[in-house]
């Protein structure tokens, strides 16, 4: 295989056999399957005991998905899955991204504390509750929430 590295303005190409490439830690078709995700998924359920902590058989409390479901689809079932399958997912993230910790923008859903923002937040909260109330056929509560929303829109 040919390995091209760019450091600054310098482009260097090194020719390596698969074995030497593997020794340098470069993944080739011969060493792993084509993507880290594919490789990770391939090790799951194939006696990959080291990569299968005890949580494996537990299903997610959020959506009922199991790690086997993730293996089959390559997709995480819901936000709670990320906590339920935290350990195996962390291993995967290390291979996919070379990191496991988010260091970008923090989402606090806190807004900037201005009255306008607080108004938006309050309206959002009431609307969510109203939707739930209607869904649960709690019509008295729904009527109260509707009135509160109207008062806010006032």
């Amino acid at each position: 295989m040919h390995l091209t590295q760019i450091v600054g303005d310098q482009v260097t190409t090194v020719h390596l056999c698969s074995r030497c490439a593997a020794e340098r830690g470069i993944e080739t078709d011969a060493t792993v399957s084509q993507t880290p995700l594919g490789a990770f998924l391939a090790t799951m359920g194939k006696g990959g005991a080291a990569a299968t902590p005890p949580l494996l058989d537990d299903s997610c409390l959020g959506c009922g998905a199991t790690l086997q479901d993730f293996r089959a689809s390559g997709r995480v079932g819901c936000g709670v899955c990320w906590t339920t399958f935290e350990r195996p997912l962390r291993d995967l993230l290390r291979r996919l991204h070379g990191a496991t910790r988010h260091s970008g923008e923090q989402y606090l859903n806190a807004g900037d504390g201005t009255p306008e923002t607080e108004m938006v937040r309050e309206r959002t909260r009431l609307r969510d509750q109203l939707r739930q109330a209607i869904h649960g056929e709690a019509f008295e509560l729904a009527a109260q929430l509707r009135d509160q929303l109207r008062a806010l829109d006032g």
């Binding site: 040919h2 390995l3 091209t4 590295q5 760019i6 303005d9 482009v11 190409t13 995700l37 959020g62 959506c63 009922g64 998905a65 479901d69 689809s73 390559g74 997709r75 995480v76 079932g77 819901c78 936000g79 899955c81 990320w82 906590t83 997912l89 995967l92 993230l93 996919l96 991204h97 070379g98 990191a99 496991t100 910790r101 988010h102 260091s103 970008g104 923008e105 989402y107 859903n109 807004g111 923002t117 938006v120 937040r121 309206r123 959002t124 609307r127 939707r131």
Partner: protein, 359 residues
């Protein structure tokens, strides 16, 4: 033609005007943010009713925002194939999402919300795929626009966020920032000098990935490459954009050097190639889109190197979009599989090019 949906948008192609930085090489810059809503199953595990509710919740949040207050909602699951292809050709929806893959089916709840400068695919692989598109090489402004919409929606919706993993996504390849920035760049010099393989391989080594004109899984046509960041976790948004930006600037430099080599070592062959491309486009009576793309690449190169008359980049960009099948079909009121599309396309190209030439 829109199956109960509003008329298809026409105000979403500001990027075509070629006014952005490095427009001679970089067609457009796109920033995409993947977001999911708290407490709702993701893509693979939600039901039709969940997806309908997500469309409703997102549309309400957008209507209450400043940036997307006037956005229009299109339900892909109620649009005919011609309209879905039309939106895909304008890069507003991905291929599978629009039901344009082999299966040909559109998932219920698939929708896209389109404002002037930002769009959101709803119920794609993530609940929200927010994207902005700008002319030329403009990562910072494109991100600033996406970030503004994201902040506005983030107040009105509750996004799934984990203290360690960041924004949670359906596919682990997108987790963290959820940010995928792509630069659509035209690299005929590197292709003609056969340097492109090395450059792409080098980019892969430093965390960049490339795709064709239509994104993931699409083949490279017309020497147009989409370069984007491969990882989304472990670096801040600014670091990811900076890394991509530095590498794209390097690629721009390589392309310009390759053009110098062509000018020096193959001037006559280059001259012939670009004039032939120009001649074919100006005189063809029937032409496929693939051939159009290849010839437009030659013309763009010839204009960029001062070999051909200065056809405005805007016209070349316009042909790139309006020469596509669903656009030609809509314009000429033809079915998508009508053989006359190739004839209409050739006629459109001749007309636009003639309008731009000095008399």
């Amino acid at each position: 033609m829109t199956g109960g949906n509003p008329p298809l948008p026409t105000n979403d192609l500001a990027w075509l005007d070629a006014t952005g930085p490095e427009s001679h090489l970089v067609l457009s810059t796109r920033v995409r943010l993947a977001r999911n809503l708290v407490g709702r199953p993701f893509w693979g595990r939600n039901a039709a009713a969940d997806r309908d509710e997500i469309v409703q919740v997102v549309a309400e949040a957008a209507a209450g925002s400043v940036s997307l207050a006037d956005a229009t909602l299109y339900r892909l699951d109620a649009l005919p194939r011609s309209s879905r292809l039309w939106l895909h050709e304008r890069q507003q929806v991905s291929r599978d999402f629009a039901g344009l893959d082999a299966s040909g089916t559109v998932r219920s709840g698939a929708a896209v919300l389109l404002g002037g400068r930002a769009g959101i695919m709803v119920n794609e692989e993530d609940h929200l795929r927010l994207q902005t598109l700008r002319s030329g090489f403009d990562l910072d402004v494109s991100y600033a626009e996406a970030d503004r919409v994201d902040n506005e929606l983030g107040l009105r919706l509750s996004f799934a966020f984990h203290p360690e993993f960041g924004y949670l996504t359906s596919c682990p390849t997108n987790v963290g920032t959820g940010l995928r920035a792509s630069v659509m760049i035209h690299l005929p010099g590197l292709v003609l000098t056969k340097e492109i393989g090395k450059v792409l391989q080098g980019l892969a080594q430093v965390g960049l990935t490339y795709r064709g004109l239509y994104g993931e899984g699409s083949e490279v046509l017309g020497n147009i490459f989409q370069l984007s960041n491969q990882t989304t976790l472990g670096k801040s948004e600014a670091e990811l954009l900076d890394h991509l930006g530095r590498l794209v600037r390097q690629v721009v430099e390589y392309e310009m050097r390759a053009r110098d080599v062509l000018r020096r070592d193959a001037a006559a062959a280059l001259d012939d190639k670009v004039w032939r491309a120009f001649g074919l486009l100006r005189h063809a009576r029937s032409i496929s889109y693939d051939e159009t793309l290849n010839l437009l690449s030659g013309v763009r190169l010839g204009v960029g190197m001062g070999v051909l008359p200065a056809v405005p980049l805007r016209t070349l960009n316009q042909l790139l979009v309006e020469g596509q099948t669903a656009h030609v079909a809509a314009q000429a009121q033809l079915d998508l599989d009508d053989d006359a599309i190739a004839v209409e396309r050739a006629s459109l190209i001749r007309r636009l090019l003639e309008e731009e030439l000095p008399r």
